[in-house]
């Protein structure tokens, strides 16, 4: 129970940031995804089950506050959370490189999967153009934000366990 409350608080905070801040800090039309940041962080510190569940909830929120179809991002973030969570047991490298690499890969993979889902549903755009103008920049943006947010968020989510990651930063 003591882990559930920080998780809910993190998702709610990400929702507020996604609605109230993200659109206004867009760079070149690219909006960061705070919900993805929370899902990946949660998956890395809690494991695949929590990652998938948080991904499902965050995906649902993302689509309910958006204007596209409801469902594709739910699927994408649930799978992304689960896959990222599989690395939970394999976190061996101390430092910032691995979690940020996971975040970058998760961001590209989730936006790619989301773009494909939209294409399948007939509401997507030109794939190559979307990849270079939207997906790749968003992954870079999310990773840059992850550098700032991940250490504090990871510590917030697992207050019961000391973490050595980002010791100098956080």
């Amino acid at each position: 129970m003591n882990r559930v409350l920080p998780t809910i608080a993190a998702i709610l905070a990400a929702t507020l940031l996604q609605v109230g801040l993200a659109p206004y800090i867009a760079i070149g039309g690219v909006v960061p995804d705070f919900l993805l940041l929370v899902v990946v962080t949660l998956a890395l510190v809690e494991g695949p089950t929590a990652g998938a569940s948080a991904g499902f909830a965050a995906g649902l929120i993302f689509e309910l506050i958006g204007s596209g179809p409801v469902g594709p991002m739910v699927l994408v973030l649930a799978v992304t959370g689960y896959m990222a969570g599989l690395l939970h047991e394999n976190m061996f490298a101390e430092g910032w490189l691995l979690p940020l690499t996971v975040l970058a890969v998760a961001s590209i993979a989730s936006t790619l999967a989301y773009g494909l889902m939209l294409d399948l549903l007939g509401v997507g755009g030109p794939f190559v153009l979307t990849f270079f103008t939207k997906m790749l920049p968003e992954a870079l943006y999310d990773t840059a934000l992850g550098l700032l947010i991940y250490p504090w968020l990871a510590r917030f989510l697992r207050q019961d366990r000391p973490m050595t990651t980002f010791r100098r930063l956080a």
Binding site: V19, G20, V31, F56, P69, L75, H88, G125, L129, T165
Partner: protein
């Protein structure tokens, strides 16, 4: 990252399967249920709740955005730039209106032009939500409580406040159309959204086509044959075909025309008449727009 005492993860592939199936069911339900279905209603409820958060974000970040805007405008004083923008927009709209009126007189047709469009009842609104990379949709601070309904056209304004906007008539360029409307907020799909389509006319030669948005935010005028002479600077207005948008609203200006022999139609690139990037105040034409365009996910 290293957790000091790695925990054994509780792998539950069954849970993932359940979540995947649930999400697929949700997607199916979304497409099957129609606009009045439970998921659509839940979305409207959620959007009604989060709309004030967007308004707060817009208000709080305004000074910061102003600083970045100022940095971008270095070299020209802010007041001078604003005055020039305002003057330019007024002149362009005036020229377009006069040209439309002249052509109407020549053809002895009683068409709806900007002067007539200005008789449409309009409502000023603030932008409280910005587009994402996946869809070009903005949120306004007006909703059903103010008389806004789905399918109403939205145009840019000449003024900088809702009061000034209301007095400025509907002379601004077309911005988009309301899609999801709650009691105190409304989402507007911009004409630059990839799922947007606006029946339009080139003002100089009356050639009709469809203005489409794109994933990168560009505008193109499609279905104009090679026989039609189109040049940069031509003004494009709504044609009124289909009854979605009133006739005569400024849509954009032709900036590039490419004729590919292998293509059935010309590739025509437009610049939107309304400055969609940093739009802050708009007019909703509450006396128009009986239909809703089919958009993404609808």
């Amino acid at each position: 990252m290293r957790l000091p005492q790695p925990e054994k993860s509780n792998l539950q592939p069954g849970l993932l399967v359940v979540l995947v199936v649930l999400s697929l069911l949700l997607t199916t339900l979304w497409y099957r249920e129609g606009a009045g279905g439970p998921v659509h209603k839940v979305r409207l409820g959620v959007q009604a709740v989060v709309a004030p958060v967007g308004a707060v974000g817009e208000f709080v970040t305004r000074p910061i955005r102003g600083v970045f805007q100022w940095i971008g405008d270095l070299g020209v004083s802010r007041s001078q730039l604003e005055a020039l923008r305002l003057q330019n927009e007024k002149l362009r709209n005036t020229v377009a209106t006069l040209e439309e009126a002249r052509l109407e007189n020549l053809r002895l047709q009683s068409l709806v032009n900007f002067a007539q469009s200005s008789k449409l009842k309009s409502l000023g609104a603030h932008v409280i939500g910005r587009p994402t990379q996946w869809d070009r949709v903005i949120t306004l601070d007006r909703g059903t409580a103010d008389g806004v309904r789905e399918g109403m056209p939205v145009v840019g304004t000449l003024g900088t406040t809702p009061a000034a906007a209301a007095e400025a008539s509907a002379a601004g360029g077309l911005i988009g159309q309301t899609i999801d409307v709650t009691a105190h907020s409304a989402k507007v799909r911009l004409i630059t959204d990839q799922s947007s389509g606006v029946a339009s006319t080139i003002q100089s030669n009356r050639a009709e086509g469809i203005v489409h948005g794109s994933i990168d935010g560009g505008l193109s005028l499609d279905f104009i044959s090679h026989e039609t002479t189109v040049k940069a600077g031509d003004v494009v207005i709504t044609s009124g075909m289909g009854g979605v948008f009133p006739k005569g609203l400024l849509v954009g200006e032709v900036t590039k025309v490419t004729n590919q022999p292998s293509s059935l139609y010309q590739d025509i690139v437009l610049t939107p008449s309304a400055g969609l990037g940093g739009v802050e105040d708009v007019l909703i034409l509450v006396g128009a727009g009986p239909q809703v365009q089919t958009g993404s996910g609808e």
